[in-house]
Structure formats: C-alpha cells, structure tokens
C-alpha cells in the first residue's frame, strides 16, 4: 500500500519567483527505506517539509498538485494531525530537544496527544529501548554527545508511533561511527517495525547498504529513482552533483579496463567477495 503519493506536486515559497518543487510525482510503498539525495538547493528539504504539512501550513507559499501521506491530503489536514503519522528529524538535534531530561523530551509528543499516563509511560519505555537510549533516560539532552542527541531526537519522534520517519541529513555533524549508529538504529526501525524511512543524506558510502531505493533530485525535480545499484550505475549521478559509493566507483573503473565483476557491490564486504572470485588462484 502506498504511504506517500504525490502527483504533480509544485511548490513556491512566499516571495520567491522560482518554484522549489516542480511537478514531482512520487509513490512510496509502506515499509520502504528510501534515500533522498541531490546537490544543495535541489529541493530535498522542501519535499520533507511537505510530507508533514510544514508546507503549506507553516511556511505558506503556493502548493499545487496532490499529496497524500498515510491516506491524508496534506493540504486539508493540520500539522498536528500529520505529526501522528509522519515524524521529522532535523539535521541539528539541538533544534528539536528542549526539556531538562531525555525522558521528558520523549514524553512531550504523546502528552500533547492527551494520551493516558500509562500509555505515555509505555511509549517512552518503548522508544528508549528501540533507539538504544535507555541509559540516557534521566540525563539532560544538552550534556549528551551529538550522536546521542540525535538518537534521542529519533526516540521523541518514534514515541508518536509514526508510519513514516523523515530524517533530514541527520548525521551531518556526527563522526563516522556516530553516523553509522544512527543508520543502524533507523534500519532496525525499518526492518523490525516496518516504519517507512525517508533519509536525506549525502553520506552514501555508509547509508546505501540499508536502502531499497535511492532518489536523486535536481532543480526541484526527481532526476533519478531506482535501487541503489540502478541509480549508481546510471552514469548520470556525477553530472547531477552526486557521487557514487567508492566500491561502485571501483566496479566502474575495473569495467572500463576490461575486468567485469559478476555483480555491482554496494558495500566493501560485497566488493571483496566479488573481487575474490576473479583474483583467487
């Protein structure tokens, strides 16, 4: 079942002449793990803002075309209704966390839904557990590392039990290990709970292995859309200002010189396995 359905989505920010999204058609099925990438200013963040209704309800501007998320028409439903189905995690977790303890931050969303006390407690326990942040429960968010803060931000979104989790460059400020832990956390939410993931990311080397699908945007439009292998092998990514992961690059360089591996590797593990086939004595 489609959880996101956009038809002819075109959006222009207030006081802007040029639309930030142009005629976007997109169907995302429930449970998909999608990486959304593209050069700076391509419209990725704008699309994310549409998915939970920040556009048009908060930003204003002109939104044309149709967008349904979790069966709701985004134009007709308020942000607080959409927020129960679509969680948004920002680049900088400091913009999202404001309470004195991690627990209170996570409880904030469910409290605002007016849920019974017991249910709120259960959801907090569950969200802490699922994001590996239980040991941080009574800590103050501002004293945590960037990676811990980002996992708490994910937990606070998760406590709303969303169908879709949208993460807008969640690892920009993290070191590689911190980034990998975020991707692993998100991947578990996807595989174990079936939550649909829209991950805006430049770090394709680390993230690609988890994704079913990669979408590349350019100039407000969807330029490429397919499995990671299809997209990286399209030969069009570099012209769009998007790099391919290093092991795919190696595959391409070898192929140019006459050595064709049996399949396209997405991770170093796959690459070494495929190389072993051709290099073993």
């Amino acid at each position: 079942m489609a959880v996101i359905e956009a038809r002819g989505l075109t959006y222009t920010y207030p006081e802007s002449k040029k639309p930030a999204l142009v005629d976007v058609d997109l169907v995302v099925e429930e449970g998909e793990f999608v990486i959304l990438t593209g050069p700076s200013g391509c419209g990725k963040t704008t699309l994310c803002r549409c998915l939970n209704g920040l556009i048009p309800h908060f930003y204003g501007g002109e939104l044309r075309g149709e967008l349904y998320v979790a069966g709701m028409n985004v134009k007709e439903h308020k942000t607080w209704e959409l927020a129960q189905h679509v969680g948004l995690v920002f680049q900088n977790p400091e913009n999202q966390l404001f309470s004195l303890t991690v627990e209170k931050d996570i409880a904030f969303g469910p409290e605002n839904l007016g849920l019974p006390r017991e249910e709120i407690r259960n959801r907090v326990d569950w969200a802490l557990d699922r994001t590996g942040t239980t040991p941080l429960r009574y800590r103050a968010p501002y004293e945590l590392s960037g990676g811990q803060q980002q996992r708490v931000a994910i937990a606070s979104t998760l406590a709303m039990k969303p169908k879709v989790l949208v993460l807008d460059e969640p690892t920009s400020f993290l070191d590689p290990r911190g980034a990998q832990r975020i991707f692993e956390t998100v991947n578990r939410l996807n595989k174990e709970l079936g939550i649909t993931i829209i991950l805006v990311e430049h770090r394709l080397d680390l993230a690609s292995v988890y994704a079913d699908r990669v979408i590349v945007m350019n100039d407000g439009r969807i330029a490429l859309d397919g499995t990671p292998k299809e997209v990286y092998l399209s030969g069009e990514t570099e012209a769009l200002g998007v790099g391919v992961v290093k092991v795919v690059k190696l595959y391409q360089l070898l192929e140019e010189t006459g050595l064709r591996l049996r399949d396209v590797p997405i991770s170093p593990k796959e690459a070494s396995k495929l190389l072993r086939e051709v290099l073993s004595p």
């Binding site: 911190g178 680390l206 190696l250 290099l279």
Partner: protein, 274 residues
C-alpha cells in the same frame, strides 16, 4: 614552521580538552587532523593562530611564542576558517565581510578592491557580492568564509571541517582547491572526520589522529587510515577501499591502499598476471 610542545588546555568550565599534545608542522606540508567529535581537534587548531593559549606547554609559529603576540598579528600568517561560518560573519554584505580583515591589516583601498574581486571570482561568488552573507545557503556561506581568509593570502591555511554540509560537487572543487594551494607552497591543515575525502586526495596528506585530547597516531594517510585498531580508537571508519583490501590481504595484496585509482591499478596487475 609550527611547533606544538607538550600542550595542555583546560576550558574555563573545567573540561581538559588537550592533554599533552606535541606536533611539528613544516612549511608547505598538507596535514589532516582527524578523530571523533570531542577529540580536541578544534581546540588544537584554535591554538595555532593564538585564539587559545596553552594552559601548559607552548606553541611556536615561525619561532614566535603565541602568548607573546596578538591574534591579529598571528592571523596575518595563519588563516583559520571556522567550522560554522556563522561564527565568522558579522558584516551586512559579502564584500564588507571580505574587506574587513584587509582593512585591519592596513592594505590600501586599491589592493583591497583587487583582492576582493580575486577572492570572489576564485570561490565563484561574484553574484553575491552585495548580498548579506546570512541569507546564503550553507555551502555558499562556507565559500564566503574561505574567500574572506584567502583574500589576505595567509602562508598557513587552516580549515575546520570544510566538508560538512557540502555536496559531492562542492567537495570535489574544495579538494582540488586545497591541493592547488598546497602545491603552490602554502601549508594547509584540515580538521575533518571525512575519511573518504582524505582518501581521495592525491597526494594524500599526513594524518594526525586524535582521541581524548591526545595524538594517538601521526603518519602517512596510507598507514594511519588503513590501521583498523587506530581507526576504531578514533571513532572513524576505514575508507571503503581500505576495508576491501583488508579483506583480501590473504591473497597477498597490500593492505595500505586508500585510493580508488591505486586500487584499480593493483587489482588489474594481479588479474592480468594470474
């Protein structure tokens, strides 16, 4: 030359960010200071232009102790581009932002005009000359911050996390630019945890690996970034190519490979000779 001698630094809130760091950087070197968030990388580079003074130990820039000169004097020689460009900006246009330091260094109006134009062209920012730097995108802001420092042509250039928030194309340009500045004889120091960015640099930089306020390794990128224990200790991840070659070490392939073109050369050689 920069000499860092057994430097300790404790922030006013009591956090000990550097715990005995010693380092020598020769003129014209290309150095990447790498490590996890909170390892002390930024604290270290803030010492190199005198913004921070050691709690213990000393820092010498061309023989001069940083405690004995002003930040303004040191900055003429050591240009630092901050991680967050917003912490660098305060003028209402890009042009004024770039002119500010030049005026303070006492350049003539004529030279200032030339340098501004040069730096704007170099960083592909001509069209933003009269815009407020705060209205630009993240990537553009980074380029303005870099242009403002390049305009006074410091001999030593320090870039703190230059690749954060930059897309692939901008990173490619940045890499070529850094390599070009270095090949012209400037000392270039980058602070980064972007291992793939470093792996793509040819020639590869010297890597100074930090963890917990100390230097835990210092050597060629090919040696440091392909060492699994060291890389793990610094919360980094080995570059993909290095991971591949580690897996294939039992076939007699070298372990210390970082770069994808070097990888192709070695693999083809082996494949053809099989």
């Amino acid at each position: 030359m920069i000499v860092v001698e057994n430097v300790y630094y404790t922030y006013p809130n009591g956090v000990e960010a550097l715990k005995g760091v010693s380092l020598r950087i020769k003129d014209g070197e290309f150095v990447a200071i790498m490590g996890e968030n909170g390892a002390g990388k930024t604290t270290l580079v803030l010492h190199l232009n005198g913004l921070l003074k050691p709690t213990k130990g000393r820092v010498l820039v061309d023989g001069v102790d940083t405690r004995e000169v002003s930040v303004a004097q040191l900055s003429r020689k050591v240009g630092l581009v901050f991680q967050n460009p917003d912490s660098q900006f305060f003028c209402s246009t890009v042009e004024e932002e770039i002119a500010f330091a030049l005026k303070n260094f006492g350049f003539s109006q004529e030279v200032i005009e030339k340098r501004i134009t040069w730096a704007l062209n170099l960083m592909n920012l001509k069209q933003y000359r009269h815009r407020s730097p705060f209205t630009l995108s993240g990537g553009e802001k980074k380029r303005v911050a870099l242009a403002a420092v390049l305009a006074w042509d410091p001999q030593i250039l320090i870039l703190d996390e230059p690749t954060i928030g930059q897309d692939y194309r901008q990173k490619e340009k940045l890499r070529q630019f850094i390599l070009q500045l270095n090949s012209q004889g400037r000392t270039v120091i980058i602070v980064t945890h972007d291992v793939e960015f470093v792996a793509d640099c040819v020639p590869a930089p010297r890597v100074v690996l930090m963890a917990g306020g100390r230097v835990i390794a210092d050597g060629d990128a090919e040696e440091v970034l392909t060492n699994p224990e060291l890389v793990k200790k610094a919360s980094l991840i080995q570059p993909q190519i290095s991971q591949v070659f580690q897996e294939l070490a039992d076939l007699g392939l070298p372990r210390n490979v970082l770069n994808v073109y070097e990888a192709r050369r070695i693999i083809l050689e082996r494949w053809r000779g099989r």
